[in-house]
């Protein structure tokens, strides 16, 4: 953020002290955008820190199966879910153990079934395994570690995807903006009232 825009922000914040006039919606929106842009993450190819290159590739595939691309909307892979999980795991030994252990289990289970690592198995083979571990009802001595790992991977992939720019656009959140007047669309009210009967 430039010094000029930072001063602008400060000026707006300090209105209580300065006793300035009201800002209009356009100015308020400008404040929003400045605040958001100043914190935008740096882009660039992510180098895994907690996971091995193979484990990281496995996690990328797993996250994209959990939240896949759909039409023009990319999935968790492009949204950077694996990078975010690896970054947290690099700061937290418990998370690192969950992911290194879980991804190893995934390879082990897939080798048992198809003679291949998870990431090298066919898409049908991958989903056949996930169809088992994606449900608590399949918890068993054999599948238990997979079920509990998948719960972690799913939870964090969902979090990563929907807190990314891609995910927020996918879910169609319309807020975090400045409005001069708060208005609720009449068609939304009518829709809900009609459905309430």
């Amino acid at each position: 953020m430039s010094e000029y825009s930072r001063r602008d922000l400060l000026r707006n914040v300090a209105l209580a002290v300065a006793g300035a006039e009201a800002i209009d919606a356009q100015q308020a929106q400008h404040v929003h955008e400045m605040a958001a842009q100043s914190k935008d993450a740096k882009s660039g190819r992510y180098q895994p820190k907690a996971l091995s290159v193979h484990q990281y590739a496995t996690l990328e595939r797993l996250t994209d199966l959990i939240i896949p691309p759909e039409g023009k909307s990319p999935g968790a892979l492009v949204a950077g879910a694996a990078a975010w999980i690896d970054m947290l795991a690099s700061e937290n030994e418990r998370l690192a153990a969950i992911y290194t252990g879980g991804l190893t289990w995934l390879d082990h289970a897939m080798l048992d079934r198809s003679g291949k690592n998870f990431v090298d198995a066919s898409p049908a083979g991958q989903t056949a395994l996930l169809d088992l571990i994606a449900y608590r009802k399949n918890d068993s001595p054999e599948l238990g570690p997979g079920v509990s790992f998948f719960d972690w991977a799913r939870r964090m992939t969902v979090d990563a995807f929907y807190t990314s720019k891609i995910g927020i656009e996918d879910i169609d959140y319309r807020g975090n903006t400045a409005m001069a007047k708060y208005e609720v669309p009449v068609e939304a009210i009518q829709y809900a009232l009609k459905r309430s009967g």
Binding site: I23, A28, A35, L88, Y162, D170, V184
Partner: protein, 575 residues
């Protein structure tokens, strides 16, 4: 103990703590021409740096779960809120007696908890000041609604409060600005409430919808918890203290942890000793009067730690009541899935958070419902900004993965409503704080030990809260979801399983209560200590009861009244 030189200044008033109470006293006194030294235990509030408003989750590397993924392991390290604090502060412990559960949220920053609080601004009702006269429980205040009403007027006009005139006895009308329109889910809830004979009205919140005292109107981003870059909600930092500093009569010392009040031979406070956290050097400031506004329990702690030959029980504590009659708010919560909201066209529902609420409606039927006192209900719903955990409930319920899970999340977004009950706890003998005989904080200051017990009154009320939420959800054609204590409880569960933990609602009140009788109260009706004429308290400590109304507006009103009284007594030479 360091010596204070004869040349060091003597401040007219030293105010300890800069939240709603301290901010108000500072503003009112500065306007009346009194010089004030304001002490804050945390750093200066720097809006440019400390306000995280408008940032997206992806603007922070951990997306809001906290460094090291702390949020996944039950540790709260990161918050979007603009308050520096929490129940756990490094080097500043407190203890909880065996058998009790209590959490004590403390804030360490100029403005304190007002930088993040919910902004709900509810007047106490006339009957809230005379609870013992009403049902024989607890104690009456030495003042009435008529004493406080003019100060509610002043407070509302100055800080700016939205609301509508409704003529409901449990929720007195005030000086209101125009509230924002109800959201779609608010309209459905209100219709359901109407069927059930329950009122549902615009929330009274410390938000401005028109420019006020140089502060621009709200721009409806819904992130009031992060403080406000345009100062369009109330926080003592930018609404009261920054302007007061411009008068030239206010000096602020930050990172100053008060240790003890020092008294003279006549038993009056002559100086405040504090630890300068930057240098770890013990300092003193001299004063003609002192106002404690450090938060109810911190103020009580300071009094209890200010022992001397004359005050062996702690200062202003000849009654032994300092630390006693601690209360919090009775909290519960329940969410529901509403099919009528499925497929709702998306819209920006941020607004200023909660737009509608249910005021207490059964004050004439207390005998029929089987418990005394009441509660109000805060409503939630809409298309909120996705956050860590936003879709955990639907993910857990739906399980699976892939396009099916993605569709379930999309379909459920915006279809849930939530209800938070906030009710009155009656002060009891078993809920109090005292000095722990062993434990000290990093500055060597003895810490508080908490004792806590909900009574049957609160447990029954919490059950009633959850039953009400379930009835409203049912009347909306919805189904209840969830099951977490204090937040999302199962209807019909025992009170102990639905009520919040002590301290969890962060409305700790009492512990230096006011009263006419010096044997049973700490302060007189102006919040001036019975025992020490130049000592005042202006936080939640003076409260005699803790009605279902969130305390901040009443803290501001009482602090305003105390500040005017103090200035007048100074002018007369009485203090």
């Amino acid at each position: 103990m360091p010596q204070v030189g004869r040349s060091s200044p003597v401040y007219d008033v030293v105010v300890i703590g800069s939240g709603a109470g301290g901010g108000t006293v500072t503003k009112v006194l500065a306007d009346l021409g009194v010089s004030v030294l304001l002490m804050e235990a945390g750093p200066m509030f720097n809006p440019a740096k400390d306000i995280k408003e408008h940032q997206w989750p992806y603007n922070v590397p951990h997306r809001g779960v906290g460094p090291k993924g702390d949020g996944y392991f039950g540790r709260s390290g990161f918050t979007w809120n603009a308050t520096f604090g929490g129940a756990q502060l490094e080097g500043e412990p407190y203890t909880v007696a065996p058998g009790s559960q209590f959490s004590w949220f403390r804030s360490r920053i100029l403005g304190g908890r007002t930088n993040h609080y919910g902004r709900f601004s509810l007047r106490f009702a006339d009957y809230d000041f005379k609870p013992r006269s009403r049902d024989g429980l607890g104690w009456d205040w030495p003042i009435s609604y008529e004493d406080v009403s003019p100060y509610y007027d002043k407070a509302e006009a100055f800080i700016g409060v939205v609301g509508t005139k409704e003529g409901i006895r449990s929720a007195p009308d005030g000086v209101f600005q125009t509230p924002a329109a109800p959201k779609v889910h608010d309209i459905l809830i209100k219709n359901a409430c109407t069927k059930l004979g329950i009122p549902c009205i615009p929330m009274r919140s410390a938000i401005i919808t028109k420019a006020t005292n140089g502060r621009p109107a709200c721009h409806y981003c819904g992130q009031c918890g992060r403080a406000c870059m345009t100062a369009s909600n109330y926080a003592s930092s930018y609404v009261q203290i920054f302007p007061a500093m411009k008068t030239g009569r206010v000096k602020v010392i930050t990172n100053a942890m008060a240790r003890e009040l020092l008294t003279d031979d006549a038993g009056k406070v002559r100086a405040v000793s504090y630890v300068d956290k930057n240098t770890r050097v013990e300092q003193q400031v001299r004063c003609r009067t002192v106002v404690l506004a450090a938060s109810a329990c911190e103020s009580a702690r300071l009094l209890l730690n200010s022992k001397s030959a004359r005050h062996s029980n702690g200062l202003a504590n000849s009654s032994g009541v300092v630390g006693r009659y601690l209360t919090d708010t009775v909290g519960s919560g329940l969410s529901g899935h509403i099919p009528a909201l499925e497929g709702l066209p998306h819209y920006n529902s941020d607004g200023y958070g909660t737009h509608m609420y249910v005021p207490w409606w059964l004050w004439e039927k207390q005998k029929d419902i089987g418990f005394p006192r009441g509660y109000h209900v805060e409503l939630g719903g809409g298309f909120g900004m996705p956050q860590i955990g936003s879709f955990q409930a639907v993910t857990q319920r739906r399980e699976g993965y892939g396009l099916g899970l993605k569709k379930a999340i999309r379909d459920e977004y915006g279809t849930n409503v939530s209800f938070s009950g906030r009710g009155e706890m009656i002060p009891n003998e078993k809920s109090f704080c005292e000095i722990d005989p062993e434990v000290k904080d990093r500055w060597g200051i003895p810490v508080l030990r908490f004792h806590w017990e909900w009574s049957e009154h609160e447990l029954k009320q919490a059950q009633h809260q959850v039953r009400t939420f379930a009835e409203i959800i049912q009347a909306m054609g919805g189904t209840t979801t969830g099951g977490r204590r204090g937040g999302n409880a199962a209807p019909g569960a025992p009170g102990t399983q639905v009520i919040s933990r002590g301290g969890a609602i962060i409305h700790e009140i009492g512990v230096t209560r006011m009263g006419d009788d010096p044997n049973t109260s700490v302060l007189n009706k102006y919040s001036q200590a019975h025992d020490v004429k130049n000592l005042f308290v202006a936080d939640g400590g003076p409260f005699v009861s803790n009605p279902d109304k969130n305390p901040t507006l009443t803290i501001i009103a009482l602090a305003w009244r105390t500040a005017e009284y103090l200035a007048e007594e100074m002018r007369k030479g009485n203090v």
